[in-house]
Symmetry: C2
Subunit: 313 residues, 2 copies
């Protein structure tokens, strides 16, 4: 029965007629293989557990998971997403123990030595960490938030801006991201002789309008605003237009994410593109390598941020 059902037909072991009888019986009885027994016997599953860093669940993030999931599914795996990172720190470990996945994609900071060794002994064969920078001996997807800021600074310097007003997001979900991006921005800006001033800002139309009035209404020559994402940037643009301040002549504006809103806005917003669908597909394929080949080397897959010039710089 096992041979027939699994198609192990090495050198005609099974008579076609027997095969038919087995198949017929299976169909008649509505036979379905038992997942637990399969996993116990084979010592592996086809499940890949995915946990995301504490990113806001906006378009860039959902794009990433959807692409990764899609490619994994195509490769025959069953990708499952474990939400709830920070709120239940033990959650991933528990999930790992309970599904014994064969692969794991998770933020670097939860992948401690202890966690990894317990996961490995639990059957996990492929681990990919989502990190800020490469980690020795571990496959990583490197998403360097600082680099995003650096690219923005380069773009602004190239366009001749001399002064950057960096909006630091007050939204707790964006705070970390925001700080890192501005850190990168500042480092390059200073090297290029630009000055940077950081101001806290929320995703609030009125507050942003007030902020614009206070800080940018009469801008110094060569001032640009850097926002941590397009939503913030678009609020700035809106406020500037309401005040009839010329963009990009008087003030430049640059966002991050290259969201569809940014591409459709008028004037089209300059932004930093981070989305790299093929990057997540490559992650899936790297994971596939690791599960199939025993000594697959650790890989590093980098997100390459690029400035997408719109009409606001």
């Amino acid at each position: 029965v096992s041979y027939v059902l699994n198609g192990v037909d090495d050198r005609h072991r099974i008579t076609p007629e027997t095969r038919e009888r087995v198949l017929a019986a299976a169909a008649r009885l509505g036979y379905e293989p038992n997942a637990a027994a399969l996993a116990l016997r084979s010592g592996r599953t086809e499940i890949v557990l995915i946990q995301l860093p504490e990113w806001p669940l906006g378009p860039p993030t959902t794009d990433a998971v959807l692409t990764l999931s899609d490619e994994l599914e195509l490769l025959g795996y069953t990708p499952l997403v474990h939400l709830l990172g920070a709120s239940h720190p033990e959650g991933l470990a528990r999930a790992c123990r309970r599904v014994s996945p064969i692969g794991l994609v998770a933020p670097g900071d939860v992948l401690t030595e202890a966690f990894l060794s317990s996961a490995r002994s639990g059957g996990v064969r492929a681990v990919i960490a989502i990190t800020e920078r490469p980690v020795a001996g571990l496959s990583t997807v490197v998403i360097d938030q600082r680099r995003i800021g650096r690219v923005a600074a380069q773009h602004l310097a190239g366009r001749g801006y001399r002064h950057i007003l960096a909006l630091e997001a007050t939204d707790p979900g964006l705070a970390q991201l925001s700080r890192e991006r501005i850190e990168g921005l500042t480092s390059v800006a200073h090297k290029s002789g630009l000055t940077v001033e950081t101001v806290p800002a929320g995703l609030d139309r009125e507050a942003m309008d007030e902020l614009v009035g206070r800080r940018i209404a009469r801008p110094a020559r060569g001032t640009a605003v850097f926002a941590v994402n397009d939503a913030h940037a678009l609020l700035v643009v809106e406020s500037l237009r309401r005040r009839s301040i010329a963009i990009p002549r008087s003030v430049g504006v640059i966002g991050c994410d290259d969201s569809s809103e940014a591409r459709q806005s008028c004037p089209r917003l300059t932004s930093i593109r981070l989305r790299a669908p093929d990057m997540w597909r490559r992650v899936a394929r790297a994971l596939h390598q690791m599960t199939s080949v025993d000594s697959a080397p650790a890989v590093t897959i980098r997100a390459i941020p690029r400035a997408v010039a719109g009409e606001t710089t």
Copy 2:
């Protein structure tokens, strides 16, 4: 060993000293229970599989999953989300076979008779369907999109509007939703003697501005715009303000979702609140009931949409 590790200490079966020895050995060897063996032996897991309808992955949706996941985690389950609905129709069945979850939350239309019986025989004890309307014999979360439209129509009728311009979303992810909401809107509107006109609209600033210019620039008395979500509604508001058309005096605007953008916009957007955190918590608890009690009755949990009056109606 099993008795010690599982704390089965009925009437002092185990000598404290033996218990200690077992515990020490387990610690020393880094013992971790094997998920597959556990599942095989006990015939159940603590996994709950979640699949969402083809909703756009915006704030209302992510809110829902996060709340549901959180409560399930609190109850001791391991919630896992299977993304990819339409793209891989077989995906959920495969996922179900592979993890043999004890609970399942999924859109009603994938829960066919065949699927359910195969899932049940695979160990699934609790199923909750996300549907438009209750299904006999099945526990359901009822999210009636038509009802959302009805509530909007009631609100507008109550405010004295006589004519509604309904914006039907062209975005494929929103098309279905949009159609249903407008259907509900229309039914109540007609009953109340309001007229409804449906116009396709995309989430595009310029196109929306053009649409407003063409259709609402010189509105008939008592005209209101109904948008399928707040993002669309806010574009309308922006365009109306640019044209100095008085809101809500000349034209009313109502959105859906009661998003944070809507609450923070100026003027504050009237919207339909659908978010019901406690609804998803109730879903989790209902599921818990079903897994623990053998003959738990099917429950129906309804989302109650409510108009949240802002300054645009």
